[in-house]
């Protein structure tokens, strides 16, 4: 009897989640390397009203061509990550790196946890170690000599430094990239970081520029791939769907009220 109210409640909860996902996208419109999230929905279970589909209504009677299954609402099937490339913006920062194409930077925090990120805002710390804005070291670690003058990072991720009194730039290390079979399966950890999960598969490490891996662009950062127009449109659709579900609740209430007045 009250199934309609519960069904509409699942609809409202779903649209609430949709709005939350959209608002997080909008909030991260300017976050470096942020990837747009999309909430997808699917129908819940079905219940037969009084007979299963394909059962005769009476013995020797006609076979009704349709059943009478009533669905029990909606649920979120997953929040997909749209891993499309964000626009690269020139910053001229020597340690601002962007990956053009597929791949993630790998960073490690003090207790050895490995994180993956598309946000390439690195800088050297007091000891010359290259770290990300959270202070996590780039992995494999890279230390710059104290007396370096200039740093050049090529598209293959090789790091060259120019040291005073020497002519030739010196190769001091390499920035690598990692790939995953299922990027959508990575667990977002906040601060633009992701960790590996059973769903993402194991990371495979490679050199930037190698086939299957993107190239490193020095002096660029990757902006968020959120499209404001798209998000606002989705927001309007979600709001209308939410209103419609609330309308079901008020109509159910009216109907129950009408029944309640019979005596």
């Amino acid at each position: 009897m009250y199934r309609a109210l519960q069904i509409a409640a699942t609809g409202m909860a779903a649209q609430q989640l949709n709005v939350e996902v959209i608002s997080n996208n909008v909030a991260n419109l300017n976050s470096t390397g942020y990837k747009r999230r999309i909430a997808e929905f699917q129908d819940l279970l079905y219940q037969n009203l009084n007979r299963d589909v394909g059962v005769q209504s009476t013995t020797g009677g006609n076979l009704p061509p349709v059943g009478n299954q009533v669905g029990l609402g909606v649920k979120n099937s997953g929040i997909f990550i749209n891993t499309n490339q964000g626009t690269l913006v020139k910053t001229d920062g020597k340690f601002d790196l962007a990956i053009q194409g597929k791949g993630y930077f790998q960073v490690t925090n003090a207790d050895g946890t490995v994180y993956y990120t598309r946000s390439g805002r690195f800088s050297p710390d007091g000891n010359g170690l290259i770290v990300d804005p959270n202070g996590f070291q780039i992995d494999p670690g890279l230390t710059l000599p104290q007396d370096y003058q200039d740093v050049t990072i090529n598209q293959q991720g090789e790091v060259f430094v120019t040291i005073s009194n020497t002519v030739a730039p010196q190769l001091v290390g390499r920035i690598t990239a990692v790939n995953f079979l299922n990027e959508s399966g990575l667990r977002p950890e906040g601060n633009n970081l992701f960790t590996e999960t059973l769903a993402s598969g194991s990371p495979t490490q490679g050199n930037p520029g190698a086939i299957g891996y993107g190239t490193v662009q020095q002096g660029f950062i990757e902006t968020s791939n959120v499209d404001a127009v798209n998000e606002i449109t989705s927001l309007i659709v979600a709001q209308r769907a939410y209103e419609l579900n609330s309308r079901v609740i008020s109509t159910s209430d009216d109907m129950l009220n009408a029944i309640n007045q019979i005596r």
Partner: protein, 254 residues
């Protein structure tokens, strides 16, 4: 009250009204499920249909219609997402999905890749290819799915074919039963759909829900009004009976 309804033919109007009201509440559930799923990928709306009952009560045909639920398999609008693994079927047919309970069918092309590299639906069920499941390679930088459903991985060896999506069609789509989680099941085996003739696959888009919000809202208003009207009929019958009883027995002022 129930005893009186059964014994007095005069009360048949009320019984019909009650039966109708019960069905209207079921119809309300169907509409609320449609509205709740108005943003569900590949969702097909349900329609309440009333069919004349073939039962007979005391030799008389049963006056109350039987409620049945038909699924509207009309396509939903295509929504572009630009996600490589989002595909939509433009035309007839269904994707086949392998679940632990057997083969199921869906129009939801929001695909993902499992940790083992299989192409799967949002719930991790493998999507069937023409020759078994389709496996992608970790080095596939890009995935290309053409109109005929051939899946290519663009990786170290260039563009290589990883498999072709299996698309099936049903002569009579009313054999499909909803199994929840965007899936349909069927006891009757489907036939193969022909690419370019029956369907085209569109990459970077998904099929939205086919729920028509305006028509659902109209039906919602309609059933709400009908329930109120039926309540009036029951109320009037009650008054009529009450006055009849008091006139016959000479009690009250009738």
């Amino acid at each position: 009250m129930r005893v009186i309804f059964k014994r007095i033919l005069f009360m048949q109007a009320s019984t019909i009204a009650f039966a109708r009201q019960r069905d209207l509440f079921s119809q309300l559930e169907i509409i609320s499920n449609n509205i709740a799923n108005s943003e569900s990928t590949g969702f097909k709306s349900d329609l309440a249909v009333y069919v004349k009952s073939d039962k007979r009560i005391n030799g008389q045909p049963d006056p109350t219609p039987v409620l049945a639920v038909a699924t509207n398999t009309a396509p939903g609008g295509l929504v572009t997402t630009q996600r490589q693994l989002d595909i939509a079927l433009d035309g007839k047919g269904f994707f086949a999905v392998e679940t632990p309970l057997g083969t199921r069918y869906t129009r939801n092309g929001g695909l993902s890749i499992t940790a083992e590299g299989f192409l799967a639906d949002a719930n991790g069920n493998q999507i069937s290819g023409e020759g078994g499941p389709i496996t992608m390679d970790v080095a596939d930088a890009e995935i290309e799915i053409n109109l005929a459903g051939e899946v290519y991985g663009i990786g170290p060896e260039g563009r290589s074919l990883r498999g072709a999506l299996q698309v099936v069609k049903f002569e009579n789509e009313s054999v499909l039963q909803k199994a929840g989680n965007h899936l349909f099941k069927s006891d009757i085996a489907p036939e193969a759909a022909i690419p370019n003739e029956d369907y085209k696959i569109v990459q970077g888009a998904i099929e939205g829900s086919n729920v028509n919000q305006v028509s659902e809202l109209t039906q919602l208003i309609e059933i709400s009004r009908t329930v109120a009207n039926l309540a009036r009929i029951v109320q009037d019958q009650h008054q009529l009976l009450k006055s009849a009883v008091s006139r016959i027995t000479g009690t009250g002022n009738g």
